[in-house]
């Protein structure tokens, strides 16, 4: 049995009571709460104005409230997110923000803006051709516009010192997350993939300074923590958005450990930090969002994401990858055959699973177990 760590329980508690956390934060700090639809929103700018960015996620419950607003052929995550708004679960938010990313989540944002009362709906025009040097001046300009809009909304002028502080807080938090992830490179990681998912989700809901404090406590605990379980097959998960804790729990119960990931609510949120040039802070920020591991709808004409996924897989001793595909997610779907071929060529077998708001854990278990057999976890002879 794993040594109970109160820090992981605290982190899990935030995720499971995310709405209460946000409202308590607002009571304590007085700042506004900004619902964020995608990891391309430059949160540092909002944070610099005393705003808490709160990642919007679904609840994995079947729902029928979005049908009038969002055509059913758009991804289940975008519909689940909109459903949370329509059900009033995020009624405490003061504003919402999205970056121009995929059409699915953009529609959830638009419908939320049209039908739910928020003080401000903010749209960041994020370039798609991040491989062009022209993307940097565009995004730097858009960062400036976003900054002005945040200032106007909050009534707080963002000074250089405010922005420096926000960037430092976020960078510190990212580095601490790398340290947590680095512990999973061990032959027997002291933290499971499920526990790490909670850590990553909490990161997106919490004040980064508070989250960083929890990470420091966690890192102390992880120094001596030994899990009473077999690591089993070392897997990574790849995909678009994934916060399906029930799925991860099942995978790690059948003889595997998720040791790393590349997906929207995992490493893609925090992996790159803002590199300070000593010059234009907004340009530094823009550089960070341009150079982070891209969402597939930004990964052209050349492929940047694939070599990064492989590098991560090698770094973490990954034996196989589970591709978690949100049904109807066009950008990720367009990559999957090429990605699986690339990984196979490089010795990483893959298992493809299509996700919806709820998943058939029983059927998926059979498939995961078969996958584990094929990657040689069980000695058959």
């Amino acid at each position: 049995m794993a040594v109970a760590t109160s820090t992981i329980e605290k982190i899990k508690n935030v995720v499971q009571n995310r709405h209460q956390y946000a409202q308590d934060w607002q009571k304590k700090n007085g700042g506004k709460l900004l619902g964020v639809f995608c990891t391309y929103v430059p949160e540092e700018i909002a944070y610099a104005a005393g705003v808490l960015p709160v990642r919007l996620l679904g609840s994995h419950e079947p729902q029928d409230v979005t049908e009038p607003y969002l055509f059913g052929m758009f991804c289940p995550f975008s519909r689940d997110v909109l459903a949370q708004g329509l059900k009033g679960r995020f009624s405490y938010l003061n504003g919402i923000a999205v970056a121009h990313t995929c059409m699915h989540i953009n529609q959830a944002f638009e419908s939320w803006s049209l039908h739910l009362p928020v003080e401000r709906s903010l749209f960041v025009s994020m370039p798609s051709k991040v491989q062009s040097p022209r993307a940097l001046p565009l995004l730097t300009g858009q960062m400036g516009i976003f900054k002005s809009e945040i200032e106007e909304w909050t009534g707080n002028k963002i000074s250089d010192a405010d922005l420096d502080r926000a960037i430092d807080v976020y960078n510190t938090n990212r580095r601490l997350m790398w340290e947590v992830y680095a512990t999973r490179k061990a032959e027997n990681p002291p933290i499971t993939g499920l526990e790490t998912m909670y850590v990553a989700l909490a990161q997106q809901m919490m004040d980064k300074e508070e989250h960083s404090q929890l990470l420091r406590e966690l890192l102390e605990e992880l120094k001596t923590r030994k899990l009473d379980r077999n690591t089993g097959a070392r897997l990574m998960i790849l995909g678009s958005e994934d916060d399906d804790t029930e799925f991860l729990k099942m995978v790690e119960a059948v003889g595997a450990t998720i040791v790393t990931d590349d997906h929207c609510t995992g490493t893609r949120y925090f992996w790159n930090e803002v590199e300070r040039s000593g010059g234009n802070r907004l340009e530094d920020l823009a550089n960070r969002y341009i150079n982070r591991t891209p969402c597939p709808n930004r990964d052209w004409p050349g492929r940047v994401r694939f070599p990064r996924v492989l590098e991560m897989a090698k770094d973490y001793g990954v034996q196989g990858a589970i591709i978690i595909q949100q049904k109807f997610c066009d950008p990720h779907e367009a990559d999957i055959p090429s990605l699986t071929a690339f990984l196979k060529k490089n010795g990483i077998p893959t298992l493809f699973l299509e996700f919806d708001v709820t998943v058939p854990v029983g059927q998926f278990r059979i498939r995961v177990e078969a996958f584990l057999e094929t990657i040689g976890q069980e000695d058959l002879f």
């Binding site: 052929m73 059409m103 529609q107 025009s125 798609s128 022209r134 004409p301 066009d330 950008p331 779907e333």
Partner: protein, 443 residues
């Protein structure tokens, strides 16, 4: 081809006003131009590029007078007419691992590429390079795959910079500078010296084609409508094939004159026009007979947001109506330099009504309401198109917006390119109910 009614049509009740009809004179030439376009792409000895119909296509035109191209979306739509080939293409894409819920055009196109078959005979003609614009989630990925599979150079221009009302110098520079980069890249990749005169000519033809098409669409504000949407599909498609070609632009001038003449003579698309409607999104290409089905109710679709705005350029006119955009040439602007041409092109394209829908459904709802008024519509038929996330973006909100404005609307779910996802009897039953609710039962 429009039917010629002799007056012996027993579908319509007695006492209804009957308009004269006649086939389009330009029909034969439209078919010839289209056929020639596809044949010349496959012919050897030309510089071929493959890309989106939404690419900034004047750019490759500057590489020489022998440049030909294959725009993927209309090509895939053409395949959709051939049901057997369409299914084989889609199954080939799925067999290679591409999901069935991806863009129907993308799947059809890559399926044909994997089968190495060309819809117009022979093998899939390998492009010399790929060039596209990127606005929906698919375009950039589509030609990334084609270029990898065929091992050819690839450049794409990101045009997803936001609604035209939010354009600023920074955004225009972003698009224009990408265009400059693309020209340098393509010159190097093809070994060709770039000709700015060809670029400028192509831009002018594009401005002319798209403005003239909007003028044609405006003529359908007349009662009776001189064209029906089914016929318009056969004409608008030329703009998706090659808006930069002088012959295509000249042809649209001919179409405009013919349609003006039809208006002057009171020649209608259908003999009994009791109910004017519009649709939205690409139609299910295998279901175009539904426009004829509407005639049984005395109903005519006089256009669609898709047909009118996909390759039409529009603006607010001084009289408050929505009309064809004034071209730079009509404003007396002389286009002299590469940068000037690219700036005019960027601003022209970024203002397309069809592109605004990618950002804010309310922008499209407002235009639909305006179209209902200016085209004297009784309602809209919205296609919830599972095959295209772009044209379906915000469509549920458009429905709500139309209802709020008191405009009757019906919806049906289908897929523009994949007939496996279509229930024809159910859709026809929905049309029957809708028309009855409008007070136009089948005659």
């Amino acid at each position: 081809m429009m039917a010629t009614f002799t007056g012996n049509d027993t579908n319509m009740g007695a006492g209804l006003k009957r308009y004269p009809t006649k086939p389009l004179d330009c029909w034969k030439k439209a078919k010839e131009l289209r056929q020639r376009y596809y044949e010349q792409y496959a012919a050897p000895g030309k510089l071929r590029w493959a890309g989106s119909a939404w690419a900034l296509d004047p750019i490759p035109a500057g590489l020489g007078e022998d440049v030909v191209h294959l725009t993927g979306e209309p090509y895939a739509a053409a395949i959709a007419f051939n049901k057997d080939f369409a299914v084989r293409c889609q199954e080939a894409a799925e067999a290679h691992g591409w999901a069935r819920d991806l863009c129907a055009y993308f799947r059809t196109y890559i399926g044909g590429m994997f089968l190495d078959e060309y819809a117009f005979g022979g093998k899939y003609p390998k492009p010399d390079f790929c060039f596209t614009g990127h606005i929906c989630c698919t375009h950039g990925k589509w030609y990334e795959l084609v270029s990898e599979y065929k091992k050819v150079p690839y450049v794409a221009i990101d045009v997803g910079v936001g609604a035209s009302g939010d354009l600023n110098a920074n955004k225009i520079d972003y698009v224009v500078n990408q265009a400059h980069e693309a020209i340098e890249y393509l010159s190097k990749a093809t070994g060709r010296e770039y000709r700015d005169d060809l670029l400028i000519e192509a831009c002018k033809n594009l401005f002319r084609s798209t403005s003239t098409w909007a003028k044609v669409c405006c003529l359908n504000k007349n009662i009776p409508a001189p064209l029906d949407e089914k016929s318009m599909h056969s004409l608008y498609v030329l703009g998706t094939l090659d808006r930069t070609d002088k012959e295509f632009a000249d042809f649209y001038d001919e179409v405009l004159e013919e349609v003006k003449d039809r208006v002057a003579q009171g020649i209608a698309a259908i003999p009994v026009e009791r109910c004017r409607l519009m649709t939205d999104s690409q139609p299910p290409w295998y279901f175009l007979h539904f426009y004829r089905y509407l005639e049984q109710f005395g109903a005519v679709s006089v256009g669609s947001f898709y047909v009118n705005t996909l390759e039409g350029a529009w603006e607010d006119k001084p009289d408050g109506t929505w009309g064809a955009r004034t071209t730079p040439m009509e404003k007396g602007i002389e286009i002299r330099t590469r940068d000037q041409a690219l700036r005019l092109l960027a601003e022209w394209e970024l203002s397309r009504p069809q592109w605004q829908t990618f950002y804010d459904p309310q922008l499209k709802t407002d235009l639909l309401i305006r179209m209902a008024k200016e085209w004297s519509l009784k309602g809209f038929i919205l296609h919830y198109n599972r095959g295209c996330e772009g044209t379906s973006s915000g469509i549920a909100e458009n429905r709500l917006g139309l209802m709020k404005a008191g405009i009757p609307v019906m919806t049906y779910e289908a897929n523009m390119g994949d007939e496996r996802e279509f229930d024809e009897p159910r859709t026809l039953a929905r049309i029957d109910s809708f028309m009855e609710s409008l007070g136009f039962p089948k005659q």
